[in-house]
């Protein structure tokens, strides 16, 4: 099954299931004291990621210094219905096609780095930038 992307804002208006917001409250404690909320005003793409007929994530993109930065909000109830690496690869390919990027322009996927001490995350996707 393939991943597809739509820019239809209508899809984003539907609330994801409550489990997502419940878990957001849990993970919030890992970042609250470090980062104040910093909304981005220059989003150039707001899209929905579909896997087969399911909306599995929301994707927002902004640019800075000619690089492209992706923010992804996966719906956790579908987390294991697809291959995560494959989804992220599809996101990067989609951005490259959508904005006709040159090889000099990078696409980064942003993620918070929760690790502490000597904790090591499993092999992380090479284009993921920890913030």
């Amino acid at each position: 099954m393939t991943f597809t992307f739509t820019k239809d804002k209508y899809n984003n208006c539907h609330k994801a299931s409550a489990i997502n917001s419940q878990i957001d409250q849990i993970i919030k404690i890992m970042t609250d004291s470090i980062n104040e909320r910093q909304p981005i005003e220059s989003i150039i793409l707001d899209a929905t990621i579909w896997h087969d007929q399911t909306r599995v994530a929301r994707l927002c993109v902004y640019t800075s210094n000619s690089n492209f930065y992706c923010l992804i909000s996966p719906r956790l109830e579908f987390a294991f219905s697809y291959n995560l690496t494959e989804m992220l690869t599809n996101v990067i390919n989609y951005i490259r096609q959508e904005f006709s990027l040159t090889t000099q322009q990078n696409v980064f996927i942003l993620a918070h780095d929760f690790s502490q001490g000597d904790g090591r995350l499993a092999p992380i996707f090479s284009s993921i930038k920890a913030i």
Partner: protein
């Protein structure tokens, strides 16, 4: 011969009892209310004991004679669901022997040991059992020094974020995994990455 009250579930305490019974007199229990003569013991040791122990009971023992065997590398992983926590929010993994204080998992550290990183194909359940044995072995290996009160203690570092996951929080996160406790470490790491993505999104985008 020193007498030790070892509190915790049978499957955890009996392994320790069998290993050290030639060096001390061990009494295993899984409930404090069964006992009315706690003061007769020289040491109070807990291992997987999930109930709070009152200060007046703790005060019956000198600090180095009231210990908890904890299967995380403190200050990481306090409370419930510690193995899951240590993978979702990756930290050094290992075991700790610390002094029991009224506040759960907050006491001074007597000794610690780091574990090798888990194999990606290992399930959470397998990792947990290996981890529990690692913690028990840390106690067994240091038992002579513990008996002699030879170990120096240090205060837990306050440098790291050490959130407490409640049982509800842990179960909610486990419910996302495809085989709950039999999910592999790799799948837990995938969930960790998904949480990291959501966290970054939530900080910068509005729903």
């Amino acid at each position: 011969m020193a007498s030790i009250l070892l509190l915790g579930p049978d499957w955890r305490t009996h392994y320790i009892r069998d290993a050290i019974s030639s060096k001390a007199s061990i009494f295993c229990a899984d409930n404090l209310s069964q006992l009315d003569d706690i003061e007769k013991f020289d040491f109070l040791v807990t291992c997987g004991f999930d109930k709070r122990i009152k200060k007046d009971v703790l005060d019956l023992f000198e600090p180095k004679k009231r210990l908890n065997i904890h299967a995380t590398y403190l200050p990481f992983g306090k409370g419930i669901g510690t193995a899951l926590f240590s993978l979702l929010f990756p930290v050094t993994i290992g075991s700790t022997i610390h002094i029991l204080r009224p506040q759960i998992d907050q006491g001074e550290i007597l000794t610690q040991s780091i574990m090798d990183p888990p194999d990606l194909n290992e399930t959470q359940r397998q990792l947990y059992h290996r981890w529990v044995k690692h913690a028990a072995d840390l106690f067994i290996d240091n038992f002579d020094s513990i008996l002699n009160c030879d170990l120096e203690y240090c205060i837990q570092s306050a440098e790291f974020k050490t959130p407490y996951l409640s049982r509800n929080d842990s179960e909610l996160l486990v419910s996302l995994l495809p085989k709950t406790w039999d999910s592999t470490v790799e799948q837990v790491y995938d969930l960790s990455l998904l949480l990291s993505l959501r966290s970054a999104f939530n900080e910068k985008c509005t729903e």
